[in-house]
Amino acid sequence: MNVTTSRRWRRVRSLHPLAWWVWSLGLAAAAMRMTNPLLLGLVIVVAGWVVAARRTDAPWGRTFSFALRLGAFLVVMRVVLAALFGLRVPGTVLFTLPIVELPSWAAGVNIGGPVTVELLLGAATEGLRLAAIVACFGAASALANPYRLLRSLPAVLYEVGVALTVALAIVPNTVLTAGRVREARRLRGRAVRGLRGLQGLAMPVLEGALERSVDLAASMDARGYGRRRAVSRVAVAVSTVALLAGLVGVGVGAYALLDAGAPSVLGLPVLSVGVLLLATGMVVAGRRVDRTRYRPDEWLWAEWVVVVTGAVAAVSVAVVAALDPDALTMPLFPLGWPAVPVVAVVGIGVAALAGVFTPLPVSTLTGLHVAATPPRASGDVDGGRDDALGLAEVS
């Protein structure tokens, strides 16, 4: 009996944030290769489903819906711009916009003209591709705890990471201060809307943000932030040179790989040397920082599952692209139904498994997995969720 209980016992943990980012990059790489609206829709649905299943109640959990709205905006913009300025393509004309005559020096730019179904559909699917990519990144930022992601940075980047953490904290607090100042202005009977309302809002908000930053800096300094170990000058010089040379190598290598015109010898070898130099530089520089990590995020089989499912999505689409590239596009000339390549559908579908084989999300209110969370007592949530002015009761 004991064996079964211990097997069912699970520690409270959240998935390694890097795993979510790798997964979403895989999904985004798949989306990048296609304009087939059915497959793109599937990518968005998979990302949305996993987010719904695994996001927490933390503030960043809401970024996915924002990403969806941004995606919709991109599709609409794309269509509108195509109708106004797009290259005229033949086909079924829906309506004709008046053509604006442009001076001779602007030849090649056209405004207005016949708007065809093909033109709009082409623009819409292009927009949908962007929207799908944005949704993938939205999913990653909704699923991965940014604080923990920054904690997994290499030691040398640690201080940059903390600067980012502080910035993360400042944004919501500035919004909060702005809310308080607006309410306080109402109390003095002043306008709260329009340009006059904005006047005088900026100063108190900035003052508040600055004061908070100084408080935080003092608190961090008093708790040992930025302590450094003495190291030899040679080590400092070595790490600086290695980091610079590595950066140049990575830049040149990546350019050579991506640009078809560059000599191919430059590609992979230079890139790998660059990466190696960068890694060396980071390790040497990291020795200056005498830090340890408290309970670093573990990389267990669930992380592997997530990474592999993301990769499967990318690979399956790459396979289809090699065998049957037309299946990934929206057939416009002649207009037709998009294909349903089984390999790609299954591959992208596999990415949804990330929403099943991962630990349940951890609630910020209880610190437990959501399924294990007891029903919330109404008095349990203290003023932390109190309104703007009342919030000071707690903070």
């Binding site: 109402r186 003092a218 340890t292 000071a392 009761e393 707690v394 903070s395």
Partner: protein
């Protein structure tokens, strides 16, 4: 015992200030002591504390003379971060210093910076979680914690470095009485069990003085600093808690510092007072005009109701104290009375109108609200500008606000920036700005936070005046002594409901948490304040 913290001719001058904040401070604080720093607000207590780990002058600017040394290490030689393993500093607002997002990570942060080995970190985090009773919230997000929990996390976050000195700036000022007791008992345990040296500033002496081994008085205004045993120093200190005042009045020796000590000395006093109890004037029951009413108010955010069916009426001429735990809904109630939020259900009326539906200028003629941070109401760069703007906004003749301000706190240098005023003066300025529109209902959210006893007394007088003019005054507060001194009626909120509503005397004397010190000492007699006792005894002597 050797001195753990030593101040050697320390002086601090900030650039703009014309006079020095601290001059020629010589102090020695022995290891393992809990030392309390007291004094009026703005006297330099925080500055004194922040010199201990070098935040003054490194973060504040200004110039420091003399030497502060902790366990033999001089703060001039090492920056604050190098002293992190020796001195733990917790500022006034714990939430402002949080770096990470969960309790455990916050506790580990300082150890990560110090390079403590992972196994040691695990063990120390567990120890601190137990020591401060935080194990139940260990994985919770910091923003979801209550004030008392946040304060304990902030203390724990420096304690994990096992510092030998703990410096705390007003650790209980934002907390309700129960949460404050949690924090203080945790501190007492640290001093007793681990031998940590604690240096702590606090205005609420009634809460902390009984825990102190020694007291340092920072009188401010250039006067010299004094220190000594609490019972000696408090005999003539400028600030004193009610038990001490009672002890001074009756000449008790040794001077009692806790309710328990005072009760043991108070036998004869209780006997003398017993026949006078009937003389305590009952709260006047007058036919008063109803100024504001709340009916079946449900308020909250999303699915979470902060107020759940609250019914209250506020009449002109009464001072009402709204009490309750942090997060019980006090601020939410005030925000709704001020018309800042629409109710989810139920209604709010102030002088017959729903304040949320009124335009801002109309609303402020009915209800005035001083938020917890009064500086939110102040935008201008000088007191004079602020007053002039307030006159213009309220369409009053120039000079009205300034006259109000003078009535509230006496003269204030009109060229000063509101930021440079003392806490009490700033509160008075915000109150004057609100009162210039002559609202019938005046709301104050936690007005005594950061005020010293003198400023509290002045505020009590002002609130009494406002009520006498026929206004309804509602204050949300944790400060039971202020409730005892100024409130006619007390309302206790818990879990979004009204659990007690009645004359302040009845409500507070019957509650072990909300009873003021005098009531605890003289129970079962319903005396509330030292002034009341003094007046009763005087009357008895005059007419024997």
């Amino acid at each position: 015992m050797s001195a753990m913290i030593r101040f050697d001719r320390v002086g601090v001058t900030f650039h703009e200030a014309s006079s020095a904040v601290l001059t020629d401070v010589n102090l020695e604080i022995p290891e393992g002591e809990l030392c309390l720093v007291i004094g009026p607000s703005g006297s330099g207590k925080s500055t004194l504390l922040r010199t201990v780990n070098g935040l003054v002058p490194r973060f504040s600017g200004g110039r420091m003379d003399g030497v502060v040394s902790v366990a033999g290490r001089r703060t001039v030689d090492e920056p604050s971060r190098q002293l992190a393993d020796l001195v733990g500093y917790v500022g006034q607002d714990p939430a402002a210093g949080f770096v990470t997002d969960t309790v455990e990570d916050e506790l580990a942060y300082v150890m990560e910076n110090l390079g403590v080995a992972p196994q040691v970190m695990r063990r120390r985090v567990e120890d601190v979680l137990d020591l401060l009773s935080l194990h139940e919230v260990r994985r919770r997000s910091l923003s979801t914690l209550s004030g008392g929990q946040q304060q304990r996390v902030a203390i724990g976050a420096v304690l994990t470095a096992s510092p030998r000195v703990l410096v705390l700036d007003e650790p209980t000022s934002a907390l309700d009485p129960a949460a404050a007791e949690d924090v203080l008992s945790a501190l007492a345990r640290l001093v007793h069990d681990i031998g940590v040296t604690v240096l702590m500033a606090e205005h609420r002496l009634e809460r902390v003085v009984q825990f102190a081994d020694s007291v340092v008085v920072v009188p401010g205004g250039g006067a010299p600093i004094r220190s000594g045993r609490p019972s000696d120093v408090l005999r003539d200190a400028p600030v004193a808690p009610p038990v001490v005042e009672l002890g001074r009045l009756e000449g008790w020796d040794p001077l009692p510092l806790s309710v328990r000590e005072a009760r043991r000395a108070a036998g004869p006093l209780r006997e003398r007072l017993a026949p006078l109890v009937s003389g305590i004037e009952p709260s006047p029951v007058l036919e008063r005009v109803e100024v504001a009413a709340v009916r079946h108010l449900v308020a909250g955010y999303g699915s979470h109701a902060v107020l759940d069916g609250v019914d209250l009426a506020f009449r002109g001429g009464e001072v009402v104290a709204v009490m309750g735990r942090n997060g019980a809904g006090k601020s939410t109630l005030l925000n709704h009375l001020a018309g800042l939020r629409p109710p989810l259900r139920g209604s709010v009326t102030v002088q017959g109108e729903d304040p949320h539906r009124l335009s801002p200028p109309e609303a402020r003629c009915r209800v005035g609200f001083v938020p917890q941070d009064p500086s939110l109401l102040l935008y201008h760069s000088s007191v004079a500008d602020e007053c002039a703007a307030a006159d213009a906004e309220a369409v009053r003749e120039p000079g009205t606000t300034e006259r109000l301000l003078v009535r509230l706190v006496g003269g204030v240098d009109p060229a000063l920036h509101p930021r440079d005023l003392s806490e009490g003066q700033r509160l008075a300025l915000a109150l004057a700005v609100v009162l210039v529109a002559e609202p019938g209902l005046v709301l104050l959210d936690e007005p005594t936070r950061g005020l010293d006893y003198g400023a509290k007394e002045a505020l009590g007088g002002v609130l009494g005046h406002l009520a006498a003019e026929g206004r309804a005054v509602v204050l949300a507060t944790h400060d039971v002594e202020v409730v005892a001194a100024v409130a006619d009626r007390a309302v206790v909120l818990a879990d979004g409901e009204v659990v007690a509503d009645g004359p302040a005397r009845d409500v507070v004397t019957h509650s072990p948490v909300f009873a003021p010190q005098v009531a605890k000492v003289l129970a079962p007699q319903p005396w509330l304040t030292v002034d009341e006792v003094t007046a009763a005894l005087l009357a008895e002597e005059v007419t024997p």
